[in-house]
């Protein structure tokens, strides 16, 4: 046996993992080779040092944090059944069922001309509620606390409507119910505004009233939409909200760890920063206020990062430049960071993309919190070109 061959086998030799014949050959070689014997000694010594490394105790608050997170996640377990459906292979089935409900509803609505608009709205509501359940689970997955409110990301979703898929399905259903071609065309055309209205007026209040819907959910929502559209060409529950163009946008993300002298003043600075650039900031309470999520308009990303750097010494900075929001990019970053943004402490309003609520009788959008006037009237296409960038900041 040659030395290099013996050295390849020394590791398994030490663990008694060689078969008898191999072991015997190595033994014989070690008997005559001083170099390999000393190599074996080095192995034993270094591995002994690794095994002797002392146990490391977790910080004192470790146990409590584990408990708190478990309590938070079990609060969200009420939606367990739905999450099972949504996460597992049943999701396709649910999507089909939801779409079927939509189709039937729209078809029925179209037949009863005088009240068809209302029925369509109801169906859309149903679809959206499904979507809302889904968001709750997403939140649960990321260990977000329920009952925490967050008013964010109006620009991310809600004002993007009526995916082509939706229109196609409506047309198909009309074809089944009403064979005359001109009626079919009319149906497709007249349906559009109905669904637009329904999305517009329902999506916004849902988002604001359901305190559990966090921004990560809307990131996730878009992802689900994308996958939903892949389900046999049928949009998943409420997934018709996001058009393909949104999934193409580039979203910048960063996770930054900063060592600061005074955490309170750093938090203040960051909240002010959010206000300055027309973004939003929220402190994550489960981190004991140590982590903050900033959302800023994409074109303010660099500036925000530069400002953050001024609050202390940056000890870690990871970013995903130009992440496609269709990919798991955003999700991955949040996972890596441990959790997703959760709550609205010290929220500043968002610039950009606040959807103009379409006036509909009986569905007024309640104003929530302070909505600054800046950039509020931005047209939707600018929102797509200037998506929100997310920066997660950990203060050490």
């Amino acid at each position: 046996m040659r030395c290099h061959e013996a050295q390849e086998l020394l590791s398994a030799y030490l663990d008694g993992m060689l078969d008898p014949s191999e072991k015997e050959r190595v033994d014989r070689h070690l008997g005559v080779c001083q170099v390999c014997r000393s190599d074996l000694n080095d192995f034993e010594m270094v591995l002994g040092l690794v095994r002797d490394l002392p146990p490391v105790a977790p910080p004192p608050e470790f146990r409590l944090e584990v408990r708190r997170k478990i309590e938070q996640s079990s609060q969200g377990c009420k939606a367990g059944f739905w999450s099972l459906l949504a996460r597992g292979r049943w999701s396709g089935l649910v999507a089909v069922a939801a779409s079927f409900a939509l189709v039937v509803g729209l078809a029925a609505a179209w037949q009863g001309l005088p009240w068809r608009g209302e029925t369509a709205t109801d169906q859309m509501l149903g679809g959206l509620e499904n979507g809302a359940v889904n968001k709750t689970q997403v939140q649960e997955e990321y260990h977000l606390g329920s009952g925490e409110s967050r008013i964010l990301a109006d620009g991310l979703a809600g004002n993007q409507m009526a995916a082509p898929e939706t229109v196609r399905i409506q047309t198909q259903s009309m074809a089944v119910q009403e064979p005359e071609p001109e009626k079919k065309a009319v149906a497709a055309e007249t349906k559009m505004p109905v669904s637009l209205k329904a999305e517009d007026t329902v999506a916004a209040p849902l988002k604001r009233e359901k305190s559990s819907i966090a921004d990560s959910a809307s990131v996730q929502e878009r992802k689900l939409s994308a996958t939903g559209n892949g389900n046999n060409g049928v949009p998943a529950r409420g997934a018709s909200v996001a058009p393909p163009s949104v999934t193409e946008e580039l979203v910048q993300q960063a996770a930054i760890e900063v060592r600061v002298q005074d955490r309170a003043s750093a938090v203040r600075t960051l909240l002010e920063l959010a206000l300055k650039v027309g973004g939003a900031a929220s402190v994550l309470p489960e981190t004991g206020g140590r982590e903050i999520v900033l959302q800023v308009p994409g074109d303010q990303f660099e500036r925000a990062v530069a400002e953050i750097a001024k609050t202390g010494r940056i000890i870690r900075q990871d970013y995903l430049p130009g992440t496609k929001s269709t990919a798991a990019g955003g999700e991955a970053l949040f996972q890596a960071a441990g959790a997703a943004p959760a709550t609205g402490v010290g929220i500043t309003g968002l610039g950009g993309g606040d959807p103009q609520p379409a006036p509909a009788p009986g569905t007024a959008v309640p104003p929530v919190g302070k909505q600054p006037e800046v950039k509020k009237e931005k047209p939707p296409d600018q929102v797509v070109k200037n998506p929100l960038a997310t920066i997660r900041i950990k203060l050490e």
Binding site: Q7, E8, L9, L10, S11, A12, D15, M17, S38, N41, D42, F43, E44, M45, V46, L47, G48, L49, V50, R51, D52, L53, P54, P55, V56, A57, P58, P59, P60, F62, R63, E65, V66, R67, K69, I70, E71, S73, S74, H143, E257, R259, I314, I315, R316, Q317, D318, Y319, L320, P321, A328, A332, L333, Q335, A336, G338, K394, E396
Partner: protein, 203 residues
């Protein structure tokens, strides 16, 4: 009054968080150590160790008692480390600051450092070992933590990493070779040459 693990597991499964907290108390040291040896810093170790316990709690129903609770829990901990590794691979993280100060600073001076009678020299060696572990590739670090810190068998490692025994053998061999070389390369730096030589002669 002291309850055995099985009782605590049963109570936890029924939703008794006090019981689960007691389990966390019993095993947090070991789980945290695994995570710390793998990540080399307290911030990430805390995250991973927490994730391991939360996953364990959520999976309690699937714990059938074939192995001890401890073994089962450590397996979850190494799975969490493995998943973290995969996540990092996927993310292809861009680190702007190549060498960053480890949060938590000197590992041997913070929580759970060596016992008082352990001397400074010992600390130096341990720091050296940890820093060399940190400098290994994720795959090598993971397999070394599994084998040397957790004491898993080759079969258990193969099952956890979803690979063959042959792969475990060769990867572990390469990881150990690399670590040994790195440690020996640094011995002058840490002035432990004499001690190493002494120890080597004893062995």
């Amino acid at each position: 009054m002291h309850q055995d693990d099985d009782t605590l597991v049963r109570r936890s499964r029924e939703g008794d968080l006090d019981a689960f907290e007691e389990l966390v108390k019993r095993y947090e040291g070991k789980v945290y150590t695994i995570a710390y040896r793998f990540t080399g810093n307290h911030a990430d170790a805390g995250d991973l160790a927490q994730e391991a316990f939360i996953k364990a709690f959520q999976a309690l129903r699937s714990f059938r008692g074939d192995a001890s609770f401890a073994t089962w829990l450590y397996r979850i901990a190494s799975n969490v480390c493995r998943d973290e590794l995969r996540r990092q691979h996927r993310q292809k993280k861009v680190s702007l600051e190549e060498v960053m100060a480890q949060p938590g600073g000197n590992p041997s001076l913070v929580a759970g450092g060596p016992s008082p009678q352990e001397c400074l020299e010992r600390n130096e060696i341990q720091e050296l070992i940890q820093s060399q572990l940190d400098s290994l590739s994720g795959d090598h670090r993971l397999i070394l933590v599994m084998r040397e810190i957790q004491g898993l068998s080759y079969e258990e490692i193969a099952a956890a990493l979803d690979c063959t025994l042959g792969t475990v053998k060769s990867r572990l061999s390469r990881a150990r070779q690399t670590l040994k070389q790195k440690v020996l390369d640094h011995r002058e730096l840490f002035d432990i040459e004499i001690r190493l030589d002494n120890k080597g002669r004893e062995g």
